[in-house]
Symmetry: C2
Subunit: 388 residues, 2 copies
Amino acid sequence: MRRHNLGTILTEVHRHGHRSRALLTAEMGLNRSTIGDLVAELTEAGLVLQRSASAQGRAGRPSLEVVPFPEGVYVLAVDLGVRHLAVARVGLGGDVLDRVDVEPERDWSDLDVTVEAIADTCDRLRRAAPSGARCVGVGLSVPGVVRHEDGLLRFAPNLGWTDVPFGARLGERLDLPAVIANDADLGALAEHWRGAAAGYEHVVVMSGEIGIGGGILVGGRPLRGRGGYAGEIGHLRVNPDGRLCRCGSTGCLETEVGADALLREAGRRPGSGMDAYRDVLAKAAAGERDCVAAAARVANWLGVGVGILVNTFNPDIVILAGPLGELYQATADTVAEAAAQSSLVAPREQVRLAASALGPDAQIVGAAELAFEPLLEDPIGTLSRHAA
Amino acid sequence: MRRHNLGTILTEVHRHGHRSRALLTAEMGLNRSTIGDLVAELTEAGLVLQRSASAQGRAGRPSLEVVPFPEGVYVLAVDLGVRHLAVARVGLGGDVLDRVDVEPERDWSDLDVTVEAIADTCDRLRRAAPSGARCVGVGLSVPGVVRHEDGLLRFAPNLGWTDVPFGARLGERLDLPAVIANDADLGALAEHWRGAAAGYEHVVVMSGEIGIGGGILVGGRPLRGRGGYAGEIGHLRVNPDGRLCRCGSTGCLETEVGADALLREAGRRPGSGMDAYRDVLAKAAAGERDCVAAAARVANWLGVGVGILVNTFNPDIVILAGPLGELYQATADTVAEAAAQSSLVAPREQVRLAASALGPDAQIVGAAELAFEPLLEDPIGTLSRHAA
């Protein structure tokens, strides 16, 4: 019970960044001295600080506010992509305190090389951490199917991996508890925990640069399906007259709204990358006619895809992430109109559209949250397993 | 605890039709005399019978088998559709003991008239029940959105209803506890409890004659979304060159695989009904060329739709129900091939396709299961509220 209460307080402080003792007392239904006692234990453990908050009323006694101790504990968060690797040190409270982006376009097909590259980067971040700060775990985001029960990476076609104990290997190398999850699931969870989907239970995140993927939350939990493959929405067919897709069909979401679609529509070379993509969007924003028209055409098919997902999932919110988020910010009305035309009235009236609030940090944020989970469940017990 | 154990035994007997005392003892981890005692209480309450089962081995003592008492308790199950009304008396164990189908094409726009028509039919079935049999509830399946918390029927566009306390009204009229749920959700749950999806947690049921709907289970629970509208899959676009749909798009699942699509492809008059539909399928089975080709074309688009749902949900099983089930039985290979071509390898390898095992009884079976739930949770307490 005490463990549970300590966990609840630490979770509140972690999620919200700060929490007054008065609010914790009210929320948890405990008396003031019990809360004071619990907060004192967390303070002594080096997890939180107490500071005086400005009083709400003139006459009131200023309430004490509880905040994460910035140099107390942290986790390492790893975002491994087909073309990128980012490793961050994330403090209790969720702030990214330090971050390293490893050069892109590396070949991750050799597991040993990849584990070592990540571990080296983790070591660098740990050495740069303030002395006394304790690392309590590492969270990994991977572009593949993860077996939920034991974290085995089942299948990562774009990395060329099948059935590798990736998390376990990295955890052993670093001597840290390691947790691993699918990048799309983590992206959706991150938006739910700290982003555009905060407070929403039914969430669809559409993302991806070339392949289009979906991170879907049903009742606050990732939709995984039987084997973890759910959310493959890239081959929803949106454009009856669209291009031939690598899947053999035509007019898939992937061919019609991927980054190359916008480049092609604007007369640019497909594959010329995100700078060219952003250039088209910037020129569209500046009113350059060809780019305006190109963005509108792609935005239309994106909206059709959104509409299909609205009908299928009746979500609270559909979040556009990555290049799709940038496109959405430039063409929100067009996307919304096309989505409205291809969805039914009732679910349409209940949905919000939004660009990702976390952007490219979503996987880092999600991986960090995963890594913090044991600490938030049992603060003192978890800490006792990690010496400074 | 005792209540829980009584409920567990009754649920096992209800779901499986019979259960040996030896098996119950093993499954529940209780000792034999406790099981004997619990079964005796259920027997005395008129819920179950014990009978001698054939011994498994020659030397073994024959185990006693527990079965539902057929004239003990029953529920009423109502399947209200746009064009039909069926009411059934369903016994503990799940057998449909009696059933009345009210004439089709009635106008259900007046709530009072509808409640009275259903209640009259229920009264008839109750009068025809064996004396001493106790009715413990009524379950309703409706083509509309039901608010899960209190059973308010939010929205049934095809009945013309908005926010009607339909279940509560019928319950009052019949002086019975009434539970109400969406027909697609109940169809999927029924297949999960007693049909083709038994043992599966991730289930997609595609059904519908004109509009195409989806009943989707995620982790064994209906996918409802924010407001209960999830599963509107009729406007997934499958045929790039398809017909104009009433939704304004072209080539939707609804226009390409609804009953009229087959009739049209076979040169029959759309709207000529299920007899004409079955005639086309029968002629296709007999090798009549035009009908074979018509069925294959529609089966292809059905398969494309299945493939999209396989990618999106990674289900254990996709069940084709209603006219789609009849089409599938006639064209299984074509549907499977098209589904394979429009889905990714990993989820495709994990999915089964099947025709509905319950057919048009799915909603009756589902509604009956709902109505039995309180009895299965607390057999003696529930029974004490229902005099013979």
